[in-house]
Amino acid sequence: MSVKPLLSADNVYVELQKRKILRGISLCLCKGELLGLLGPNGAGKSTLMKALAQLLPYRGEIRCMGRSLQQVPAIERARLIAYLEQSVQKGWPIKVHDYVALGRLPHRSTWYRNMHRDHDSKAVKIAIEQVGLGSLDDRPVVELSGGEFARVRLARALAVQTPLLLADEPVSVLDPFHQLQVMELLRRLCCDGRAGIVVLHDLTLASRFCDRLLLLDKGRTVASGIPRQVLTPVNLQQVYQVQAMVGEHQQQSYILPWSCYSTESSSEEKYR
């Protein structure tokens, strides 16, 4: 591709408490792309997301718009990359609106809290409506269900209005309707010129909504490319140890994990 990448990672290694978590991951993301990050539990997906968001020490180089991210000041980085953690505790019972508005912090200076207020409240309003939570505006976050809270958190990340969104399993606790709603939203945002990396466990959602996929196992890249090239029966057997049912509906393929491929190693996986 001749387009200058929005985000690129080159040979990223992460070591945590002397355990090698990532062993040389490289990736590249262009404007308008939605990249799906796949892999079994413990493959290093969340670690990679944290490294990309500069929340972990790593070796290798991660660049955003050509600049090495380690050289970008934190506040500037916050306006480039929005990061959504896998799961967090609800913390203080602040209202949904206020929670989402926290996403505007990188756009404010500490001393003038209400700077760009109109602009901010517009961004917050849009983000809340995008995830379909307009009716919950005034509710304290502690009163929300797990799925509602997950959407509030996504709205918070969207409210930062960054060119790049890193979302770690944004749909895993949602019901089917909201899973589709969120994935459609992410797809639409990327078509509008943003870019995103999403950690997913649902293979069908990954293959339907992502432009490209990156399949990780034990800290290494197993496959990367368009969904059809990555989600091959061989890869699924090797990495996920499942046999999948692959079908097609309205010219889009769906992949349904159907049975364990190797009973021996999967039971081992279970008790590890």
Partner: protein
């Protein structure tokens, strides 16, 4: 808009607290063993040279009641804001300088300095030692918070630290070359504002001021911490820097106050908790309100004890503990269903 109604309630709370503080200030200046009526009070302040009586009233007001009043406001404000900041940092409503051992470690530093004759070297050594004690305690708690990140662990370590500091304080007083008896230990561990002068205020004011500025300026970052440490960092919050800022701010303000008044508990716990719902649980808005609320509470406690004491002075720490301890119990019982 719905969101904007939220923004309106909060300044009202602060103005209410300021008005309350002013009222209590007047009451505080009126109360004392020598009865001075309001007209005499004004007379004493305006025409202090007129007669022997107004001159003496002026001395009592300016040199006895005013330092006490100012110190109550400074100490209460420091404790309130430190409690709010620590609770925001640790995302735990039970964090409080007194409960988690910051105050008692500051007291230990002050006692070592006083009773081993170090305070004669330089008067600034006393607040410095107290602040060092407070900083070490906060540092230890942050380390524990990072490595054994559980609310319960943190609170329990704080209680252990607090008891240890109290025991070491008693030991220091026992071993001190200058004699110190039981009553002096109690004076330190319970805190008092009696017979403080402008010398004492001079000793703690610069540090309290720097500490308050440091704590006040971390509001937005504390807000971001509501999202959890990782997401807060992704919003540009430098977490180690924020921790340093709060540790230094708490140590400066609480440490220097403890050097002058001894340890006073529960203000930092009760005040942020009472006010939190009025600021819609925003850690940043809680800071200023807690400073004002802390000042109001401590001043009210000081007024109450002066009204209740006859010949023997009731210790300020006793009054705050009498208010705080039942409240703490209530808090713990209420929390039971919330903390997993």
């Amino acid at each position: 808009m719905k969101g904007q109604t939220v923004y309106r309630r909060y300044p009202w709370l602060n103005s209410g607290l300021v008005i309350l503080l002013l009222l209590l200030t007047l009451v505080s200046l009126r109360i004392g063993p020598v009865s001075i009526s309001t007209s005499e009070l004004i007379n004493a302040l305006v025409h202090s040279q007129d007669s022997n009586q107004t001159l003496r009233h002026n001395m009592i007001l300016i040199e006895l009641r005013l330092p006490r009043l100012l110190l109550a406001i400074l100490v209460g404000g420091s404790l309130g804001i430190s409690g709010a900041a620590l609770q925001g940092l640790l995302r735990n409503p039970l964090a409080e300088p007194g409960l988690i051992g910051v105050s008692s470690c500051a007291g230990l530093g002050a006692v070592i300095c006083l009773y081993f004759g170090l305070s004669t070297l330089s008067i600034w050594l006393l607040p410095t030692m107290a602040m060092t004690g407070a900083a070490l305690a906060t540092l230890l708690l942050c380390w524990i918070g990072r490595h054994h990140a559980g609310n319960l662990t943190l609170i329990l370590s704080g209680i252990a630290l607090s008891s240890l500091a109290a025991a070491l304080t008693s030991l220091a007083l026992n071993l001190a070359p200058s004699p110190a008896d039981v009553q002096d230990m109690v004076l330190w561990l319970l805190g008092s504002l009696n017979y403080r002068s402008f010398n004492d205020i001079q000793l703690c004011f610069p540090f309290v001021l720097i500490g308050l500025i440091l704590l006040m300026s971390c509001g937005a970052k504390l807000d971001a911490l509501t999202l959890g440490e990782a997401e807060a960092q992704s919003l540009g919050v430098n977490l180690p820097e924020l921790q340093r800022q709060i540790i230094v701010g708490t140590a400066l303000s609480v440490g220097s106050c403890v050097a002058v008044t001894g340890t006073i508990g529960f203000v930092g716990l009760v005040v942020p908790h009472l006010l939190r719902r009025w600021v819609d649980y925003h850690p940043s808005r809680l800071l200023l309100s807690s400073a004002l609320g802390g000042a109001v509470l401590l001043l009210a406690a000081d007024i109450a004890l002066r009204l209740l004491s006859s010949t023997q002075e009731i210790m300020l720490g006793v009054v705050t503990a009498l208010i705080g301890a039942p409240f703490f119990l209530f808090l713990v019982l209420q929390q039971k269903w919330r903390v997993p």
